[in-house]
Amino acid sequence: MRHDAEPRPFSLLSPALLVITIGLLLPMAMMFRFSLNRYSANELMTQALTFSNYARFFGDAFYLGILGKTIAVALASTFVALVLGVPAAYFLARLSAPRLKSALILMTVIPLLMGNSVRTAGWMVLLGDRGLCNAILIFLGISDEPLRILYTGKAVLIALVGAILPYMIISLQSVLEGIERVYEEAALTLGAHPATMFRRVLLPMLMPGIFSGSLLCFILAMNAYATPLLIGGPTFQMMAPLVYQQLTKVFDWPFASSMAFVLMSVTLASLVLSSVFIQRRYGRL
């Protein structure tokens, strides 16, 4: 006997859709509308339909500089993560001992989900004037006095790479698991140097993973908050801390909204660009 009482998809979906709408979609739409309003010192915000906030952002060398720096830092850290991530992912994917492999996967995924506050605390312990890195450098006699590592651009780059690397490794590893080893063995047996084999055989097949991993890492680095704030120090400005300050310290809602949207658009644009590119080149994934 089959009842027709099976719940319809809409009634099953509506609670989740309601929560997403109230908790994200509606606020995002409202924020876009606010970004077209005008800031006023006594009422905070007046209704308007103007692009002046965006014009102010893109017309001011100070803000453009911060956007440029954010993009540059994100690109650089993504590149380093890619260079370090490929060998690590290859090692992980080709590891034959099952227990060692699952242990290493856990050592990749657990840091990925550890949260940025804990990781930032760790980098401060490592990179501070009295930190472990300086202690080792002095102990080995490489340096006589503590080097200034924390609160420099280099420190931000190192910490960001550490934060995004697990995402890169996991993205690449999942693609590498799908590439059978026989291709590599065939190239090597036919006399190819391992480097040639990598460049001519493995790399082309790995491209989808390189794209998706780099995209994910770039987006994460673009939106980093704790790392530039605490590792870079007060003079190291990136977009995410800037948005936070505009909203909670300056109370300029329209301008903060427009900056949040600029940040969001870089994310969206890179998503769209890469999906178009990947689809054209490799078909639908």
Binding site: E6, R8, P9, L13, P15, A16, L17, I20, I22, G23, L24, P27, M28, M30, M31, L84, P87, A88, F91, S102, I105, L106, M107, V109, I110, P111, L113, M114, G115, N116, S117, V118, R119, T120, A121, G122, V125, R130, G131, L132, A135, V161, I170, Q173, L188, H193, P194, M222, N223, Y225, L230, A240, V243, Y244, L247, S257, A260, M264, T267, L268
Partner: protein
């Protein structure tokens, strides 16, 4: 073997870069864990000895104790909330074909795409607007934080449970129905038990992403109501000492335990 010999210098460089990659990933967590047991009040290497005193000290500080309790509370609410609304949504997505299915699925996954800072900005202003219109305060309140965290956790639950449902053999459910079980009984006694690993994993994952969230919560906490990651960040702006290392270590232990437990239900390598 000729290939192996020729590749020797390359192999050393290869293993060195693997080592460097994992050093960058693991070193900060290991360092903060180690320092939390140092006896010296000011961090210096090597330590003068080891103690557990900083854990007691951390617990005696209001910001950390309250932050820990608040993060636990929000994590539990986010877990329950995302399961209550996420499992039915996954059932609809996996079992029904209807117009707009792709769009709805994309909407439910959207919290994964919107950066935490952007979402936090939007939700904060939305809460304040609601307050000016209805006098209902959401910003800096527990319900406001919980709603934001359910949104954060929802895509993980939906994704894990949908993937698991797709793998379930429908014949088993049809057999139950043929034998006279109604749809509700079949759901409760057949379908849900079959996807139980994914439900448990989805719940644990919800807890983890809620517990560690920093960027989105930043806007929604209030004075005297800070989550643990935000209490950590605020403290780090002033100083780094074994006390804060002890707090970070507690978070490391909780999150690692939750993820190791998750791994027993759904392989973590398959979650992403």
């Amino acid at each position: 073997m000729a290939v192996g010999l020729r590749a020797l210098p390359g192999r050393t460089a290869f293993l060195a870069s693997v080592g460097l990659a994992y050093l960058l990933v693991l070193a900060p967590l290991i360092a903060v864990f180690w320092v939390s047991f140092f006896r010296n009040k000011i961090i210096a290497f090597p330590p003068q000895g080891y103690t557990l005193a900083w854990f007691a000290n951390a617990w005696s500080l209001d910001d950390f104790r309250n932050g820990f309790v608040l993060s636990l509370e929000i994590g539990v609410v986010a877990t329950i909330g995302s399961l209550l609304i996420g499992v039915p949504a996954a059932l609809a997505l996996a079992r029904h074909d209807f117009r707009g299915r792709e769009a709805i699925s994309a909407a439910l996954m959207s919290p994964l795409i919107v950066p935490g800072i952007v979402a936090g900005t939007a939700v904060y202003m939305f809460y304040i607007e609601i307050e000016t219109w209805t006098d209902v305060q959401l910003a800096a309140t527990l319900p406001g934080l919980c709603l934001a965290h359910v949104v954060l956790a929802l895509p993980w639950t939906v994704r894990l449970v949908t993937a698991s449902l797709v793998g379930v053999n429908r014949l088993v459910e049809e057999a139950a129905m043929t034998l006279g079980a109604g749809p509700a009984l079949t759901l409760w006694r057949v379908t849900l038990p079959m996807i139980r690993p994914a439900i448990v994993a989805g719940g644990l994952f919800s807890f983890v992403v809620s517990f560690v969230d920093l960027e989105k919560s930043l806007f929604l906490v209030g004075p005297g109501r800070m989550t643990l990651p935000i209490a950590i960040i605020n403290y780090l702006e002033w100083s780094i000492d074994p006390t804060i290392a002890a707090v970070a270590t507690i978070q490391i232990v909780i999150i690692s335990a939750a993820l190791l437990l998750t791994d027993r239900f759904v392989r973590l390598s398959r979650v992403f």
